[in-house]
Amino acid sequence: MADVDLEQFEFGSAHRTGRAKGDYQLDRLRRLAEFQLELAAAQRERLTRQERRAREVWLAKLELENLAQPREARIRELESWARELSASKDWLENKVAELEGSMADRRREIGDLLEAKEWLEGRCAELERSVVDRQRVADASELRASGMRAAGEEWKRQLLFRLLRKAGLLRDLDLG
């Protein structure tokens, strides 16, 4: 309520007939007081309700805090587990990364080996073909050689016969 000296205040406008009458002034003062009391009672009731609600909220807060404490401890415990799990997860992820790196190396090695094997297989095949070819050549050479030896023997026999015939040692034999 604004400060006003109600003892000095004169109700009614300057043009209000009967303003100066005591009945009118008293009536308005009474009405003002009644209204202010009505308003004050309403404000008091509102404050009381607000205080009651605030108290309820405060008690609820305390109750929730009591309920919350073991839950908070549990939450902290879980948070600690979570941190450990997170650390384990990080370690595992690092390990996995290492293994993946190692696997990649192994794959590269295997790849190299496979390449080498293929090369060797190719070389073996080449060598086999070379051996076969050489064998063939050798066989052919052997055959030629045997033919040449046979031809050589025949030539030597013919030469011997010619020499013997020339020497008159042999009659013309049927050399058949």
């Binding site: 309520m1 604004a2 006003v4 109600l6 205040f9 109700f11 009614g12 406008s13 300057a14 043009h15 209000r16 007939t17 009967g18 303003r19 308005r28 009405r31 003002l32 009644e34 209204f35 202010q36 009505e38 308003l39 309403a42 404000q43 009731e45 509102r46 309700r49």
Partner: protein
């Protein structure tokens, strides 16, 4: 008496600012009015003895109801924006059913006089009178009781370009949505991206298109957009729709008494008062013309209303309070929320100008309590003992007030219908009031 009375209510109309705008040529209709009118600088605080709260008790629902009833707040029951006497837990905005005393149009209805009421404070829901009532929440709420008679609701919406009231209120609601969250109000400032915002900023702040475009793009301008939406775009759009409805009524309806209420000056006074304060130069540069341009716009509205009147009519221009710099305002650069910053504050005196009556020039000893009794006296209605004001001699008619037997009180039964306002709608209205510092943001 042959003439009609039109009460042109402008919230926050201030004498010093008005005179300056008249001298600058921005208010030609006010100037013309004052040449042949009676006028008064009306004290406000004597009408609210013992009332505290926002603005030292000089809150608009109280003062406008005092003007309309001729009684103190402790008689008519409206003492603030929200009614704690209705609910301790969720005080609702004051509604028409909360007004304990008859207002001018209620008394005139009882005496077979016809009234037109447009946008006057605490008239929602609109209720039956001899005449037409457009409630102060017209366009803000989907509640169909925004016009009496209800059949005319869509007619006023069509004046605003909508096919029906439902379509209109939907369009207005999409202009801006406010989320009242814990710790404050958080508006979705979609209003500042549209053509209405561009029009308002061009008209009142004289912004260029480039400046407007910068408002849309700067992330740091969110507070600025909120300020503009709350304190310029919304009240401008609101006053436009009420003015259009009132003009339609004046042009088409027979009446004895008509009243309209504008709130633009009050809103821009809170948001854009720059005189006497140390504010950032950019803020002053951006907004220094808003209030004076708002005075010019109100002057145009006054001119349009005057144009519908005839010589025998009386035009009463009233405000509920004036304005002054709020020296306790937070610095704009602080992190204070919009609702914590109000650069203008309510001040005395209020404005009263009466044109068409016998008196001219300055009148002393005028009270907000004297308007309603003056209207009753003008129409030959006996004055009630329940009134706290009295007719001012010679203001509305020649001679002294009539000597008619007084009655104890006027017959009156407050309307029984409650407002059907959704929680979102009520929160939006309260958010705007909170943004003006009228309500505590919860």
């Amino acid at each position: 008496m042959g003439g009609r009375i039109v009460l042109f209510g402008v919230d926050g109309l201030d004498w010093a600012r008005l005179r300056r705008n008249i001298a600058a040529g921005r208010a030609p209709h006010f100037a013309a009015l004052l040449e042949h009118a009676a006028w008064a600088e009306v004290p406000v605080r004597p009408c609210i003895p013992g009332l505290g709260g926002a603005e030292g008790g000089m809150n608009s629902p109280t003062l406008w109801t005092t003007i309309a009833t001729g009684q103190y707040y402790f008689q008519h029951g409206v003492y603030d924006f929200c009614n704690l006497l209705d609910s301790r837990d969720e005080p609702p905005l004051f509604e028409s059913r909360h007004v304990r005393s008859p207002r001018i149009w209620d008394v005139l209805t009882a005496y077979q006089r016809r009234s037109l009421v447009a946008g006057y404070y605490v008239t929602h829901p609109a209720y039956e009178i001899d005449g037409v009532m457009v409630s102060d929440l017209f366009g803000d709420v989907a509640d169909p009781a925004v016009v009496w008679p209800a059949a005319r609701r869509d007619e006023f919406a069509r004046l605003c370009g909508a096919a029906s009231y439902a379509e209109y209120v939907d369009a207005v609601s999409r202009l801006s949505r406010t989320d009242v969250s814990a710790g404050g109000v958080t508006p979705v400032t979609s209003a500042c991206g549209g053509e209405l915002a561009r029009e308002a900023l061009s008209r009142f702040a004289r912004w260029s298109d480039e400046r407007f475009a910068a408002l849309q793009s700067e992330a740091a301008a969110e507070r600025e957009r909120r300020l503009i939406e709350y304190r310029l775009v919304y009240p401008y759009e609101r006053d436009r729709r009420i003015h259009r409805a009132f003009q339609r009524l004046l042009e088409t309806e027979a009446f004895d008494f008509a009243t309209v209420y504008y709130r633009l000056l009050d809103f821009v006074g809170h948001g854009f008062w720059t005189e006497g304060l140390s504010l950032p130069p950019a803020f002053v540069s951006d907004f220094r013309t808003v209030i004076d341009e708002a005075y010019a716009w109100i002057d145009e509205c006054l001119g349009e209303v005057r144009a519908t009147l005839v010589k025998a009519d009386l035009l009463v221009v009233m405000s509920d309070h004036g304005f002054d710099a709020n020296l306790g305002a937070s610095d704009w650069d602080s992190n204070a929320a919009i609702y914590e910053i109000s650069y203008g504050r309510h001040a005395e005196p209020a404005v009263m100008i009466v044109a068409g009556g016998p008196r001219r020039g300055r009148i002393e000893d005028v009270s907000l309590l004297d308007i309603a009794p003056g209207v009753y006296d003008y129409f030959g209605i006996e004055l009630a003992e329940s009134l706290d004001g009295g007719p001012i001699p010679g203001l509305l008619h020649e001679g002294a007030p009539r000597h008619v037997p007084r009655i104890a009180r006027y017959p009156y039964q407050p309307p029984g219908r409650s407002a059907q306002v959704s929680e979102r709608e009520e929160n939006e209205v309260k958010a705007r009031l909170a943004a003006l510092g009228y309500l505590e943001s919860e």
